[in-house]
């Protein structure tokens, strides 16, 4: 149904907007800044920080603009001494429950709280810190929660429940309700990091791996190499004010080299190998009556979700490893041998848009010759921090190519970072495998775009493939419920835990919202469009690796495939 356009006025400015919008949404759309902290466009308005108060003509009192629906003819005042004074006191109260630990805060670069403190001349220490003795905790190796910074907006609780995970809860402790990890045995964190994405104050952020990586960089006995995930290249620029969706692939490589690291690999190049293996497995399952639908496994939060909440569906997961893990294994075997380096002395650092990838690298199912394929994961945000620590500003740096061959990805490998990209890459290659020719149309448009769930039937050589692509774990859960009723309706299902896929991941720069996700995704598809090679099977790395190393089942099995196991609750606290 088409929504009616209505007219309102904010601070004397006449504006047109749609019925059903909130005052704050209209203000944001029109570039009018109304201070807010707990608002996030992905979530329901909480109206708990009470900073976005406005006055509405002919109504008594003040109203939070995030939760007030516009009405035709509404006249709104968002500024004034009275409003400023109230905002100031509420900010002082917010600071009284938020310990300033700015030096290592994910938000320090772009902290709304500090900006507002400045704007409203707030004495941030007017009240003593209520939460100074609150203890920090980690969720697995992925997420760090410092409740002394939490302002109790509960955005994380909604984000977690939106993922159908429900690990974060509100618990009554003393006179207060507090955000706490669930004690329930059937609730556990899957490490997706959507709580981090939606936290306004940096109370939630990734577990820091910078220190470990720096110590290894300083260790002369170690060959440290970096491998960069697809989604990092169109988001890291945000940390350097380069705009949303700006492509920074070469600048990342140059920045890493400037820190003294020679080898910069592209995880997208490994994604091409994943595409080869996964399309092979899918064709195999279909022609040999294997278990269907086959689920993708590149998203470790999704894998953990399945292992914990639906272990009965483990057989549906492709056995192919995720690109970063596969690549680490390949580096510590094929590449190590080529270079004559003892794999024990190689330290592989992945740069990922993801917090769950920190968990994926410690999975014991992935060991290769007793070694972890990947030794550390830095999030996109952490790499930006590392750059800044080394005085590297991506805006000023001249781009360089990644390491030849291991840094040469096809367009198919790059679009892995956006929801639907894995599917599109697999289909491009599956068509070639089944018909001997590349598909006429390279773009599989039904799987593009950031809708939460997409599906289509693809006919290849007379075989009809019913494919579904979902992002967001509650959408995956919906699909699982459909499968319980109707197990045979899909052949292939791609699941990414985060909205929009990896570009919306828990390790990405902040803010992340639907507009930002769209631009990051567009950036990836633009890279694909401009690539000479857009099929995984055309990659030089793929050709060389299959020719020289992955030419036997044993190597393939060791490096490319893995197993999964039912998981018990991992995060228990005293």
């Amino acid at each position: 149904m088409e929504k009616n356009r209505i007219k309102i006025e904010i601070d004397g400015k006449d504006l047109e907007c749609l019925e059903g919008q909130t005052v704050l949404e209209v203000a944001i759309e029109n570039g009018i800044y109304i201070p807010n902290l707990c608002y996030h466009s992905d979530l329901k308005p909480k109206a708990s920080c009470r900073l976005c108060i406005v006055e509405i003509k002919n109504r008594k009192g003040y109203f939070t603009s995030c939760s007030t629906i516009v009405e035709d003819g509404m006249s709104i005042r968002s500024k004034g001494d009275d409003i400023s004074k109230l905002r100031k006191t509420n900010l002082e109260l917010i600071f009284s429950q938020h310990q300033e630990k700015c030096h290592d805060c994910i938000k320090s670069n772009n902290c709304t709280l500090l900006k507002l403190a400045d704007k409203y001349n707030v004495d941030i220490n007017r009240f003593s810190d209520r939460k100074s003795d609150f203890k920090e905790i980690n969720f697995g190796p992925s997420i760090y929660f410092d409740p002394s910074k939490c302002i109790d907006c509960k955005n994380c609780v909604e984000a977690c429940s939106k993922q159908n995970v429900g690990f974060l809860e509100v618990k009554e402790i003393g006179d207060f309700y507090q955000i706490s990890p669930s004690e329930k045995i059937n609730r556990d964190c899957v490490y997706c990091g959507q709580c981090v994405v939606h936290c306004p104050t940096g109370a939630l952020q990734e577990v820091d791996s910078i220190e470990l990586v720096e110590s290894m960089m300083a260790n002369k006995n170690k060959t440290v190499l970096f491998q960069i995930a697809p989604a990092v290249r169109t988001s890291i620029g945000e940390e350097f004010d380069m705009g949303y969706g700006t492509i920074a692939t070469e600048k990342i490589a140059a920045g890493i080299r400037k820190m003294g690291i020679k080898n910069v690999f592209d995880v997208s190049a490994a994604a091409d190998i994943v595409t080869m293996e996964e399309s092979e497995e899918l064709i195999g399952r279909i022609s040999n009556g294997g278990i269907l639908p086959m689920f993708t496994s590149c998203c470790p939060a999704w894998v953990k979700y399945l292992e914990f909440y639906h272990p009965e569906l483990i057989p549906n997961l492709t056995s192919v490893r995720s690109p970063q893990v596969l690549f680490g294994g390949l580096t510590k075997t094929f590449w190590a041998e080529k270079k004559g380096i003892d794999p024990k002395n190689i330290f592989v650092v992945s740069v990922m848009p993801c917090t769950a990838k920190k968990y994926e690298i410690i999975r014991k199912e992935n060991l290769v010759n007793g070694l972890n394929p990947v030794d550390a994961v830095l999030t996109t945000h952490e790499l930006a921090c590392l750059f800044k620590k080394h005085g590297i500003d991506l805006r000023d740096i001249e781009g360089e190519n990644m390491t030849p061959l291991f840094g040469d990805a096809t367009g198919a490998g790059v679009i892995y970072g956006s929801s639907g990209g894995v599917t599109e890459s697999a289909l491009r290659t599956a068509v070639h495998k089944l018909t001997g020719k590349n598909p006429e149309s390279i773009e599989f448009s039904p799987f593009r775009g950031l809708e939460e769930s997409k599906e289509a039937t693809v006919v290849i050589n007379g075989i009809s493939l019913k494919v579904a692509v979902v992002n967001g774990l509650s959408n995956a859960e919906k699909l699982i419920q459909i499968l319980k009723e109707n197990p045979g309706i899909y052949h292939y299902i791609e699941v990414m835990a985060c909205p929009g896929g990896c570009i919306g991941g828990g390790g990405q720069p902040l803010p992340t919202n639907s507009t930002v996700r769209k631009l990051r995704s567009q950036g990836l598809y633009n890279i694909d469009k401009d690539k000479k090679k857009r099929f995984a099977h055309e990659s030089d790395l793929v050709k060389e690796v299959y020719d020289q190393f992955l030419n036997n089942e044993e190597s393939k099995h060791k490096v490319c495939h893995t197993t999964y196991n039912k998981k018990e609750k991992e995060n228990k606290y005293e």
Binding site: A47, K85, L86, T89, N90, Q97, F127, D175
Partner: protein
């Protein structure tokens, strides 16, 4: 307008939970809502300290109360009615109320924890999800209440008087709990037209010593001086008398602060953090007037719900009317 709604309107029955909202308007809003599934909540949370009038009604007039709810069930074709009672009343009167509810779609529900669990949207949230946190208004519950359906919520006393109105026996009375430093504490049914002073006199409770009263409840009620009592009682039916020379004002404020700090839902900043800071100042007897009045200001003007907006009332009125800072002196 139906006969009973018209009668309620003519009787000018105002909600007896404390907000004084015309009862007929609530009924009419739910009746005229086109939704087919409708609910009723009879609010017997009685969460304010020192208010016992709902208990008095349940204890003595349970049958009439259920009759009042029954009228509403029929009038709005409600799918179900919930009698929502605090822990104590629930354990004491559940069976009594159910014994009069036979054949009616009535369920007796135990109130959630905390003072906030008596607020109407928090009640809906609690019945639905087991977590008492207020909802954004609008939508009002007459439009989207329990499970998003039109819901009629009235206080126990309001339903009782609906029954009396239906029998043409309503004579403009109200129930008032009177306690504190008085001789005859208890709940009395008094004419609504009486002033507070007359209520105290009529119940033989007017003190001979210097005193002040708290009107409308033992937490968020307003402090009033003897010279201010020539007005009718508005808000919730409760008067608490304090002997001015023997009352420890700090202890009294500490009691309110602890009660509100514990009983609020912690959703919004001014109430969660503001109440905590008020309580801290009282506990340490270390008042900063500027801070204190700024907190009152954000509580009154920016709190999410009525509980927060009303939380400053007792403190502000006590401080202003009893010259608190002149006595206690500290800046």
């Amino acid at each position: 307008m139906s006969e009973i709604v018209l009668k309620i309107k003519e009787a000018n029955l105002l909600g007896r939970g404390g907000a004084n909202f015309p009862v007929w308007q609530k009924w009419q809003a739910v009746i005229s809502n086109s939704g087919s599934e409708k609910y009723i909540i009879c609010n017997g949370a009685e969460g304010e300290p020192d208010v016992e009038k709902d208990e008095f009604i349940i204890m003595h007039y349970a049958k009439e109360l259920v009759e009042g709810i029954k009228i509403a069930i029929n009038e709005i074709s409600a799918k179900k009615a919930y009698i929502y009672l605090n822990h104590q009343y629930y354990s004491k009167y559940k069976d009594l109320l159910l014994s009069f509810s036979e054949g009616l779609p009535i369920e007796v529900v135990e109130k959630g924890k905390g003072y906030i669990a008596g607020e109407e949207t928090a009640i809906c949230e609690y019945i639905e999800n087991g977590f008492a946190e207020p909802r954004q208004k609008p939508p009002f519950i007459s439009d989207k209440g329990l499970w998003g359906k039109p819901t009629l919520l009235n206080n126990v006393e309001s339903f009782y008087y609906v029954y009396k109105i239906s029998k043409d026996e309503y004579n403009d009375k109200r129930f008032v709990s009177i306690n504190g430093d008085v001789v005859n504490r208890g709940t009395f049914e008094l004419s609504r037209m009486l002033t507070i002073k007359e209520m105290l006199l009529e119940t033989k409770n007017y003190p001979e010593f210097d005193f002040f009263v708290q009107v409308g409840g033992g937490a968020e009620g307003l402090i009033m001086l003897p010279s201010e009592l020539d007005v009718p009682l508005s808000g919730c039916g409760a008067i608490k008398v304090f002997n001015r020379s023997t009352t420890d004002l700090i202890k009294l404020m500490q009691y309110w602060a602890d009660f509100l700090n514990k009983g609020n839902c912690d959703k919004c900043v001014p109430c969660r953090e503001g109440m905590y800071r008020i309580s801290e100042m009282i506990k340490n007897n270390d008042f900063n007037q500027k801070k204190l009045f700024e907190i009152f200001d954000v509580l009154e003007k920016t709190s999410f719900c009525a509980l927060g907006r009303g939380a400053s009332i007792p403190f502000r009125s006590l401080i202003e009317k009893l010259n608190f800072f002149e006595k206690y002196g500290k800046e």
